[in-house]
Amino acid sequence: MTNVAFIGNPNCGKTTLFNAYTGAKLKVANWPGVTVEKKEGAFRFHNGNFKLVDLPGIYSLTSYTMEEIVSRDYILSDEVDVIVDVIDASALERNLYLALQLIELGKPVVLAFNMMDIVKERGMEIDFHRLPEMLGTPVIPISARKRSGLDILMHTVAHHKENDSNKYFEHHHEEESLHKHDHHKEFAMVYSDEIEDKIDVVSKRLSKKYKEIQNVRWHSIKILERDAEILKKYPIETEDILTKNYETEIINQKYDFIHEVIHECLVNKTEKEVFTDKIDRLLTNRFLGLPIFLMIMAVVFFLTFRIGDALKEVFAGWLDIFSAWSEAVLLALGTGEVLTSLIVEGIIAGVGGILTFLPNIFILFLALAFLEDSGYMARVAYVMDGIMEKVGLSGKAFIPMVLGFGCTVPAVMASRTLENPRDRLKTIFITPFMSCSAKIPIYVLFSGMFFPENPALVAFSMYVIGLVLGIVVALVMDKLDKKSSDDLLLIELPEYKTPSLRTVIIYVWSKIKDYLTKAGTTIFVASIILWGLLNFNVTGLVADSSESFGAQIGAFIVPALKPAGLGYWQIAVALIAGLAAKEVVVSSMSVLYGIEDISSNAGMSEMMVLLAAQGFGALNAFCLMIFSLLYVPCVAAVATIRKETNSTKHTVFSIVFQLFIAWVMATLVYQVGSLFVG
C-alpha cells in the first residue's frame, strides 16, 4: 500500500485530480478554500494499492491558519509515503514557493504540473527537462480537468517511493559559492552564506539533542523562521544564533531562486491574461460591481421560480395521474380504507408533493454551480467587502452566506475559511437566515396561492428579508462585541474560466440526489408519522382530524403563534414537522388538509378554500413564509452548527435566537399589516 498525499495551493485542482483517480464525486469549484477537510480515497494501479489523501489548499508550510496546520501535520506524519504537490502551472511563481518548502522536507515529492491545457492556450512552454535538474525531483505535466498525464503521474509516484538515491543538482548561479559549506550539490534551495552558516549550527545542535528528527535541515530552517510550533516541540539554545528574524530573508531568497527557475524553464512568458482583466473591469467596477451582483442573484431567483414553475406544472400533472391511478388500483385490489388513506393521503401526497418541486431545485443549483465554478465567487467577497466591513466582518464572510442560498450545511462548513474564530461564529449565526433551497416549496406554494399576480416577487422578497436581517444581526452583534474585528480581507482572485460540464454535473447531481434521498427518507417518514398523528387519538381511529393527537399537539402551541397570525393547529403541526426538513412544512400541509396534488393549480385552489374558511388570508401566508424563512434550520443544519462551533452553548443559543427572531418578525409584520388589511 502506498500512501499518497495531494497538497498544493488553494484552487490548484487537487480535488479534481483526486476525483479523477478515485472516482469520488467530491465538490470542486473555482474559488480558494472549497476543501476544508482532508478526504481519503483508494484505488488500484498496475497491481499496486494506493491510498490517496486530498488536503485543504495552503500557500505555505507555516502554521498560521487552520488549513495550514491540518495539512502540515499530516504531511509531517509518517503516514505519507509520497507527496504529490499539485501545481497550477499557469501561476508558477507563487505555486513553486510551496514546492520549494516541500522539497526541503526531504520526503519523496513529485511535482504535478496541473492546468497544462491553460498554459498551452496562453502560448507558454515549460522546459520539463531542465526543471527536474534544478529542483531535484520529478516533474510531470498533467491536466486534471482533461484527465491527461494521470497514468504517468501515478507511475512516477510508485517508482519515486523507494527512490532515496542522491539527487544531482545542476545550478548555474551567477556567483558560484566558494563557501566551505557548499550545499549546491545537495539541495535544490540554497540560501546565502550567512543563512547557510546558521542552518549548519542549528542542525548540529538539533541532531545532537533530538536524534529522532529525520529532516534536520527543514527543522533548522523553521527554527530560523521562528516557527512557534517547532520551537515549542524542539527547544534548543538559539539566543546566540537568532540575532535577528530571518523569516523575511528566507522567503525572499526562495522567491529569488524561483525567479531563476522561471527564467530558465519558462519559455514565452507572455501575459495573455487580458480575458480575466476585461471581465473584472466590469464585474468589480466600483460603481457597477454591487448592482451587477444583485442583478445576477435576481436573475438566479427569477429563473428558479419562473422556469421552475412552468416545469413544475408538468410534474404536478404526472403526480395527479399517478395518485388517481394508485387509488383506483388499491381499491380494485380490495385494500382497506385505512391503508389506502395512508398510501394516497399520507405517502403519495407528502413525498410526491415534494418531488414536484424538483425543477425549481435543479435550476437553483445549476445557477449556483455556474457562479461557483466560473471564478465569480471570490469577486463577490471583494464587491461586498464595503458592506460587510461596516458590520464588522470581511467580504470573505459573504461566501458562506451566498452558499447558504443553496443549503445551510455546506455554507456553515465553508465558514472555516475565516481565520478569526469570533468572525466565524458570527457568520455561523447569520448563515441560517439566508433562504435555503428547502424553503423554495413553501414560497412557491404560498405565494402562488395568495399572491397570484406577483408570486416570484413575493418569493424574492423572502431572500431580501433574510439577507438584510442577517446583515442587521451581524451589525448588532458587532456593536455588542466591543472588540473590533481583525479578520481583514485577503483572498486570491482566480482566473475566470468556462465552468466545466463534468464539475457542474457532479455538483447538481449530488444536490438532486440529496433532495431525492431526503424525499425518500426524512419526508417519507415524516409523512407517515404525521398521517398517524392525524388519524388516531387515545381512543383509536378518528373520523375528524381535529380530534387527533396532531390537533392536540398543535393546539398546545397555538396561543404562542396567534400574535404572528399563525394561530392554527394545522400550521403549528406543519411548523414543528418542518424541523426535520423545511420541505416537510409543505408535505405536512398536504397531509393535514388531505390534498393529494398540492402543487398543481387545482390542489392549490382547493387548499386556499380550506385555509380561507379558517380565516387564513394573504397576510397570514406572508407571515408564515417569514416565520419559515427565519426559524430554526433543519436538524441537519443544527447538527452541523454543533459540529463546527464545537459548543452546545452556542448551538442552543443559535436555536433559541432564530426562534425568537422568527417570532418577533412574523408578529411585527402581522400586527402592523393587520392595521392596513383590517
Binding site: Y64, E93, R379, E389, G395, E492, L493
Partner: protein, 76 residues
C-alpha cells in the same frame, strides 16, 4: 506613501509593511515581502483594492492596504 493612495494601473515597490504579525506572515507567504512589486488593478470606494503580486490577483481590504508602504515604480 501608503498603498491605498495608489493609482489604478500603476506599479509600486513595497518599502515597508506595518501590519500585525499574523497578517504580515500571511502576506509574506503569498510573496508580498518588502521589495516586492505590486500593481494596482482596481480600487473600491471603501478602500479595498485588487492588486497583482507575482502574477496572482488578490483582493485586499482597506486595513491591509493601509499597512503597506510603497514607492512608485517609474515606467520605462
Amino acid at each position: 506613501m501608503i498603498l491605498t493612495r495608489g493609482k489604478k494601473g500603476q506599479e509600486y515597490r513595497t518599502e515597508q509593511i506595518n501590519l500585525q504579525e499574523n497578517l504580515l506572515r500571511r502576506l509574506e507567504v503569498l510573496g508580498l515581502t518588502e521589495g516586492t512589486v505590486i500593481s494596482v488593478v482596481n480600487k473600491n470606494f471603501n478602500g479595498s483594492m485588487i492588486i497583482r503580486v507575482r502574477g496572482t490577483r488578490f483582493a485586499i481590504g482597506k486595513k491591509v492596504a493601509e499597512g503597506i508602504f510603497v514607492r512608485e515604480v517609474k515606467q520605462k
